[in-house]
């Protein structure tokens, strides 16, 4: 296991979480560096979503401390954005794509006159410029997830927490969104990305943390020394990619045995 990092941006120390009398996470130490893309993988029930919710300030640890940029995290912060897997439940069905982005700016107190430009700008960044007037149900799954990402962009976050964001999408849409996320995050954003797809984790991440079950704990941490910007074809054929995938597959097999 890695020693605690000096320059941890998100810092989870000595975390234990008990939910409804059941231990969900035990002795979790996790540090995310500033500007890092950290992927967390693990089987269902390993507490990876709980880990993300801790970092979001949506769950409090039973024991241990969560801090962000040196300050203890006591609840949600506007500079931490969360992308949920179930975009259908996370978007406001009574507002158009435009309105779904607007609500964030309204809450942030952005002046009315400044909103339209900023809304069109973030919608354009996720390729929804032409769909501003559509309601979420009129958009495909991939477009709805893009809209949720646009809504987070409007928040101007320093940290992105993404909970299996592409888990409900078909393979082709998923690949397109993976590449778009790499593009969007290439500005030095800090990302904690939860997934159960280990190829996705290696392709996107700077580091991959593998979790185990009963109760959830961090089992392994792997560095991903693949060059950026990453090209899908080249990365998936890179010997280092294949080696990491092998290591993680072996780990999963061991864990299941």
């Amino acid at each position: 296991m890695h020693a605690p990092l000096e320059n941890a941006y998100i810092n989870l120390r000595g975390i234990n979480v008990v939910l409804g009398g059941k231990p969900v996470l035990e002795n979790v130490e996790l540090q995310v560096r500033r500007g890092e893309f950290l992927c967390v993988i693990g089987p269902s029930g390993c507490g990876k979503t709980t880990l993300l919710r801790l970092a979001a300030g949506l769950v409090n640890p039973t024991a241990g401390k969560v801090s962000f940029a040196g300050d203890e995290l006591s609840g949600p912060r506007r500079d931490i954005a969360v992308v949920f897997q179930d975009y259908g439940d996370a978007l406001l069905p009574w507002r158009t794509a435009y309105g779904n982005v607007s609500i964030v700016l309204e809450t942030l107190g952005v002046a009315r006159a400044e909103r339209p430009d900023r809304i069109h700008q973030v919608l354009a960044r996720v390729g929804l410029a032409k769909h501003a007037d559509k309601y979420p149900q009129q958009l495909s799954g991939g477009m709805q997830q893009r809209l949720q990402i646009a809504r987070c962009l409007a928040q101007g976050p320093r940290v992105w927490l993404m909970d299996e964001p592409f888990g409900a999408l078909d393979a082709i849409t998923r690949q397109a969104l993976q590449d778009e996320i790499l593009q969007i995050m290439s500005d030095g954003s800090t990302v904690l990305f939860v997934t159960h797809d280990l190829e996705e984790a290696i392709y996107l991440g700077d580091r991959v943390v593998a979790m185990g079950v009963n109760p959830g704990h961090i089992a392994r941490t792997l560095d991903v020394p693949l060059p950026r910007p990453r090209d899908r074809q080249a990365t998936f054929e890179h010997p280092e990619f294949l080696r990491l995938r092998r290591t993680l597959l072996d780990f999963i097999k061991e864990a299941e045995a």
């Binding site: 949600p76 931490i80 969360v82 949920f84 996370a90 009574w94 609500i103 149900q137 009129q138 495909s140």
Partner: protein
């Protein structure tokens, strides 16, 4: 569905009722019915036109609608506020549940003697009874709709640190609105029923009383005219709410996913 689903899809829907009315008219003329409880369709129509023309029917309609909507607004308003509060603060519901469940099954009309004692005859007592009726559907549908707001939406609002009032106005109420609206629709139907019932039973106001008066004066044609008019008024208001519901909630309900 089209926007006028409450109108029979085509004119064929009118064949049977029109034919039935004609048959009754012809039959009653040939048999030569002389009755104190029945009237020929043509007599009913004449009575209706007469009552409409002299304004008595419109006055009665206005009185009934004042009671029905007054009660709907007061009772529905109380139900709305209570529903929101109890959904947001569950301890309130624990306290109120037993008294609420005890009061609810009491038929509004059974409270007639009590409200007569308090208010006497007139609008106040009728509105009170309508309000008591309208409160429940609005209350329960508001309670369940607010409770049923998707957890993700609440989490989203807390992630961007939305204040309580803004969360209420921009997340919870819009999300619960279809359910709340349904509550008001049910309450409106019940409000008309209770208003007319109270008028028939006691209150010298409105359509129910006008109908009773026609019956007592042995004017069956006028009595039937009021009876059908009450049906028409109910139908109009139901149609208006269906239309309103489609207008307000159509974009989010009928939206089809693009591929």
């Amino acid at each position: 569905m089209t926007g006028r689903a409450f109108i029979p899809r085509n004119w064929r829907g009118f064949i049977f009722p029109v034919a039935a009315i004609l048959v009754i008219e012809v039959a009653m003329r040939t048999i030569g019915v002389e009755s104190q409880s029945l009237a020929r369709p043509s007599e009913i129509l004449r009575a209706a036109i007469g009552a409409l023309a002299d304004g008595s029917m419109l006055t009665a309609t206005f009185q009934t609608l004042v009671s029905a909507f007054g009660g709907l607004i007061i009772g529905g308003g109380i139900g709305l506020v209570l529903g929101i509060l109890m959904a947001m603060f569950p301890p309130l519901y624990w306290i109120a549940e037993v008294p609420f469940e005890t009061l609810r099954p009491i038929p509004s009309i059974a409270l007639l003697p009590l409200v007569l004692l308090i208010f006497g005859l007139g609008f106040a007592m009728e509105i009170t009874l309508v309000a008591k009726t309208a409160l429940w559907p609005v209350f329960f549908l508001t309670l369940t709709s607010v409770r049923g707001v998707k957890r993700r939406l609440i989490e989203f609002s807390s992630l961007i640190r939305m204040g309580l009032l803004e969360r209420m106005a921009k997340i919870i109420l819009p999300a619960a609105l279809p359910g709340i609206f349904l509550g008001f629709r049910i309450a409106m139907g019940a409000a008309l029923i209770v208003a007319v019932t109270v008028e028939i039973a006691a209150n010298p106001l409105g359509l129910g009383y006008a109908m009773m008066l026609a019956q007592e004066r042995l004017q069956p044609a006028l009595m039937f005219a009021y009876l059908f008019w009450i049906g028409i008024v109910g139908w109009i208001f139901n149609a208006l709410t269906v239309l309103l519901q489609k207008r307000c909630f159509a974009p989010r309900q009928s939206g089809r996913a693009a591929t």
